[in-house]
């Protein structure tokens, strides 16, 4: 009996150690998440402004009958590039698994898709399956970095210009709030129709284009690709931290429940032992008296 109650004590100590770790991880993720959240919100206006300018310039180009730059036109090709955002580390619940699963599904639907992978989890997954990728970016850390996003955007745009593929989509996790994130597949190139239709107001001013609409569109497109990549990166990072925080909170709560149960078992065992000892003493005293 004494043996088993010591055993229970040891398990309780071990679980409570784990609980301290998960609680610390939860708090770290939580504090980083606050930063990441602000970044997500800060980057949204830039993207909206840019797409609205892009829409205006596109409409102007179409109205004036000018030919569109090569890169803007829809090549009607069917070869895809998929940019996949996962984290570098696990312990974030189903965060990485959900993205990877969706990526696999995409590959089934569009065989021959070229991939650009961000995050160790995606790279490791596809490497195990002998799936090649065009480029890999790992070790990004917990904070979205503009330089990295621009590097990624640059690589993708370069390949696109050189016709390695005709379509680009980004697969990332959209950040809605701390506990809600959604895997999202966003088409980036060729320009989605919605961008053409973003209208600021009924009465749009007539713009001058310097040096030409053509040149302005060619400037805007890489900016747009970078903006889309950076936005996806910030959202992915915020979602990852949110997922990790939730996962760690669950782990902490579960550890608490486990400790609670063990404590009850331990107390019961202790009580049983005391009762038995009293019974033995009473029994011994009775034996002496009679």
């Amino acid at each position: 009996m004494a043996e088993s109650s010591r055993e229970i004590k040891r398990r309780m100590a071990s679980i409570s150690n784990t609980q301290q770790i998960t609680r610390a991880m939860e708090m770290i993720a939580g504090s980083k998440l606050r930063n990441a959240q602000e970044t997500v919100i800060a980057t949204r206006p830039y993207y909206e402004r840019l797409t609205s300018s892009l829409g205006t310039a596109l409409r102007a180009a179409e109205d004036s009958g000018e030919s569109l730059p090569e890169v803007i036109r829809d090549r009607n090709g069917e070869s895809y590039c998929l940019l996949v955002f996962t984290g570098d580390r696990g312990l974030a619940g189903g965060y990485n698994a959900a993205i990877v699963r969706r990526a696999e599904q995409f590959l089934q639907e569009h065989p021959g898709t070229e991939m650009v992978l961000v995050g160790r989890k995606a790279r490791d997954h596809f490497r195990r399956r002998n799936q090649t990728s065009l480029a890999e970016f790992v070790g990004l850390g917990d904070q979205a970095n503009l330089r990295t996003a621009q590097d990624i955007g640059h690589v993708i745009f370069d390949f696109f210009e050189h016709r390695l593929f005709d379509r680009v989509s980004i697969l990332y996790t959209e950040y809605i709030n701390t506990v809600t994130h959604r895997v999202k597949l966003r088409p980036v190139l060729p320009l989605p129709v919605q961008i053409r239709e973003t209208q600021r107001s009924q009465l749009e001013p007539l713009y001058l284009y310097e040096p030409s609409i053509h040149a302005v569109l060619e400037t805007l497109l890489p900016l747009y690709v970078n903006a889309a990549v950076y936005q996806a990166l910030t959202e992915a990072k915020a979602s990852e931290l949110g997922a990790r925080m939730t996962a760690m909170r669950n782990a902490t709560d579960n550890a608490g429940e486990l400790i609670q149960e063990l404590r009850i078992t331990y107390n019961r065992a202790r009580q049983a032992q005391i009762t038995r000892e009293i019974a033995e003493i009473v029994g011994g005293a009775d034996a002496l008296q009679s």
Binding site: Y46, S53, L146, L206, Y209, P211, A215, N226
Partner: protein, 135 residues
Amino acid sequence: MATFTLEVITQERSVVLADVEYVLLPGVDGTFGILAGHLPIMASLGLGVLEFGPRQGKRRKIALGGGFVEMHDNKLTVMAHTAELAEEIDVLRARQARMRAEQRLADRKADLDIARAQVSLQKALLRLKVADGDQ
């Protein structure tokens, strides 16, 4: 003198939001200035110095890494790849970057990405130019 609103933004942050009389921009075909009441315009910007402030007198400077500018309703918005105010520039880092780029261009190793090295050299030179002008 009439003023208008200037906003310089990168994806990370808003670099400047101010009322100004005059902005000098590094267009792809040379610099051009904008005053209040300019017609709506969209223009491509190259690597260069952006100046803003009063029409005459001391103006503040930004090292601009290319981008795009749009003016309408008396508001000028610059959406930049990178943008740093003169006082934010790390001169030491820029000097190191210049040295690295010069070194790489001088060595001419077979796998050298010349275009890239030249761009980083230009960027470093631009930063130094902007930072010095501020002192």
